[in-house]
């Protein structure tokens, strides 16, 4: 068990190295002078020289890479060009709205999509099944920002039930927080709901054909108990996987959703950084999100090994 854990953790390291190498090469191999890109359009020659010096641009490429990695490992993600503050502390300031948004969205997703998927699998082939499946295609196809604007039009502008935009921290009270998080979270979960509902249905269909389900039914258990206690628990692994791999999808959703609803989170941070060509921030955000992605998938893999003793590689 322990050796599997260590091997699995060790396997995540080359993935992160590739990510870092890619981010590194992206700046170095892009057309133009990296120092000029980093310094922005209004840099003086002295600033350019200073940046060249600090990045070690006069040294060979492989040395630059290792110096840079060493700085990253020490927690030095360099400094924003616009705000002149360390990238990590900028990220720290913006993390709360994004985490709130992501958590509420995941809760919505699970609450909506798992029952729908179970229902679709249970009523396999019926109109309910068809409805769930065709709505999920819609969820994949309608862009997040279109869903966001439709929700704003209906619930904020026409019905006036909820505020149009903005964000309040949960520490300002649950009421204002909830009012402003509902629409963005529904928007963000739209893609996710489609994905998880489909996976739940597929996974449940497989499990419902097993012998122990027939046994459970034969001994006269209530159908609800068969579905949720016996079937869903065994169908959970693929569902968990898709929640994990869908995280990458969620990141792009966060960027768009925060722009639509004017939420001052990490998504806004990266959009502002792109518009200002603030490369250290972009770089830090890519490293951070990829790192979170790798860690989430690592945790999911490890949780399989704990929950299912048959899984060993």
């Amino acid at each position: 068990m322990l050796s599997y854990f260590f091997r699995r953790i060790a396997a995540a390291i080359p993935v992160m190295l590739v990510v870092a190498l890619f981010v590194f090469l992206l700046l170095r191999l892009s057309p133009g002078d990296p120092a000029a890109i980093i310094a922005g359009d209004m840099a003086t020659p002295e600033q350019l020289a200073a940046i060249r010096e600090s990045l070690g641009l006069n040294q060979p490429l492989y040395r630059q890479f290792f110096v840079w990695i060493w700085q990253l490992l020490q927690g030095d993600f360099s400094t924003s060009l616009m705000a002149h503050t360390p990238v990590l502390s900028m990220i720290g300031q913006r993390v709360e709205p994004t985490i709130s948004l992501a958590l509420v969205s995941i809760i919505f997703t699970i609450l909506i999509s798992v029952p729908l998927g179970v229902l679709a699998a249970w009523k396999h082939g019926s109109w309910i099944d068809n409805l769930v499946m065709s709505t999920s295609v819609l969820g994949f196809s309608v862009p997040v920002f279109v869903i966001g604007y439709v929700l704003i039009t209906v619930f904020a502008i026409e019905l006036k039930w909820l505020p149009v935009q903005g964000f309040r921290s949960i520490s300002d009270g649950i009421g204002p927080f909830a009012q402003r998080i509902v629409l963005p979270a529904l928007t963000l979960s739209s893609v996710y709901v489609a994905l998880v509902a489909r996976m739940t249905r597929a996974s449940m269909l497989e499990v419902l054909g097993e012998d122990y389900i027939r046994t459970a039914r034969a001994k006269g258990l209530a159908e609800v108990q068969v579905l949720f206690r016996h079937a869903l628990r065994n169908a959970m692994i693929p569902i968990l996987t898709v929640i994990g791999t869908g995280f990458a999808m969620m990141i792009s959703g966060v960027v768009v959703t925060e722009s639509v609803f004017n939420i001052p989170g990490l998504g806004r941070l990266i959009v502002d950084a792109v518009l200002a060509r603030d490369y250290p921030v972009i770089q830090g955000m890519i490293l951070l999100t990829s790192g979170v992605y790798v860690v989430i998938n690592l945790l999911i893999d490890l949780s399989y090994a704990i929950s299912d003793p048959r899984i060993r590689y």
């Binding site: 981010v23 249905r201 990141i251």
Partner: protein, 291 residues
């Protein structure tokens, strides 16, 4: 699918309306796509106004006989802009699909056939897949100019690992087949084995995957333009239209919603068409109905 048929699950019934249902949806989505393509190709004849020229006198006009969907904040006809916007979406969608298959297919063939190369290549692909696609794309666009080519390359790079993985998995299972073994024993050149014996196995899944890549590329292009990191605003694209419209959204939601509708319809029909192609090419997938 070799499990015993469950006794209690209702057997898949042969629905009366079930038979024409799939062709109907495919036909409808094909129709929508052909319409969008025609709109893109014949844009100068379909559109009744110049999509770019500014006309401040006509700012934010409501829909009328002259301006079918009204005008935007710069007095440009919304309908004409949406018609021209179809061009960018289709160019990016088709371009990214072709490019990512052109690059991903050879890489996948090689990775599936040569074990040593496989280990290295797949680690690189794992790394690329760990970077959220939209972030990677906006980083690439922000580093260079915002032309159509840059945007296509930026969208293509995150799609390549999907193609490589798909091709590789097909090659891995196909290389164990007796006909490949026979070809190796007969001394067929490796190049020929890859091209003549292994590649044909990847065509059907690639066609299906290609439709999904196309839909996802169109979506990503719109997201990039929407965020202001896409093709320059002087070219009308659906994402640009939405991006410009959102400033006036509360005043005039139609500026965002019509382009959003065109975008959604386009992506939806490509996805549905992909589903029907998948069902037609591989009946097993249809029965399982997996994601």
């Amino acid at each position: 699918m070799n499990k015993p048929v469950p006794l209690i699950l209702p057997a898949p019934r042969r629905r009366l309306i079930g038979l024409p249902r799939v062709p109907l949806i495919s036909a409808l989505s094909l129709l929508v796509l052909v319409a969008i393509m025609a709109m893109a190709i014949f844009a100068p004849w379909v559109a009744n106004h110049d999509p770019i020229a500014l006309a401040p006198a006509n700012r934010l006009k409501p829909p009328s006989a002259d301006f079918w969907l009204g005008t935007d904040a710069y007095g440009r006809d919304l309908f004409s802009r949406i018609v021209y916007g179809a061009r960018i979406s289709l160019i990016v969608g088709i371009g990214v699909t072709v490019l990512s298959i052109l690059i991903g297919l050879p890489l996948g063939l090689l990775a599936g056939y040569f074990r040593g190369l496989d280990a290295v290549l797949m680690r690189v692909m794992d790394g690329l897949m760990a970077i959220p696609g939209v972030l990677l794309a906006i980083a690439i666009v922000s580093l260079s100019s915002a032309g159509v080519w840059t945007v296509m390359i930026a969208i293509m790079i995150p799609e390549i690992p999907q193609v490589v993985r798909l091709v590789r998995s097909r090659v891995l299972s196909a290389r164990e087949e007796p006909y490949v073994e026979a070809a190796v024993l007969m001394g067929t050149s490796t190049f020929k084995i890859l091209l003549r014996h292994l590649m044909p196995n990847t065509v059907a899944p690639l066609i299906v995957q290609g439709t999904y890549i196309c839909a996802s590329a169109i979506l990503t292009e719109a997201i990039l333009s929407f965020l202001g990191a896409g093709i320059g605003t002087e070219i009308p694209s659906w994402g640009n239209i939405i991006s410009e419209g959102r400033v006036y959204f509360q005043l005039k939601p139609s500026l965002v919603l019509w382009a959003g509708l065109a975008l959604s319809l386009c992506i939806l029909s490509i996805n549905l068409l992909g589903d029907s192609v998948r069902d037609a090419l591989d009946p097993r997938m249809k029965k399982r109905g997996a994601a």
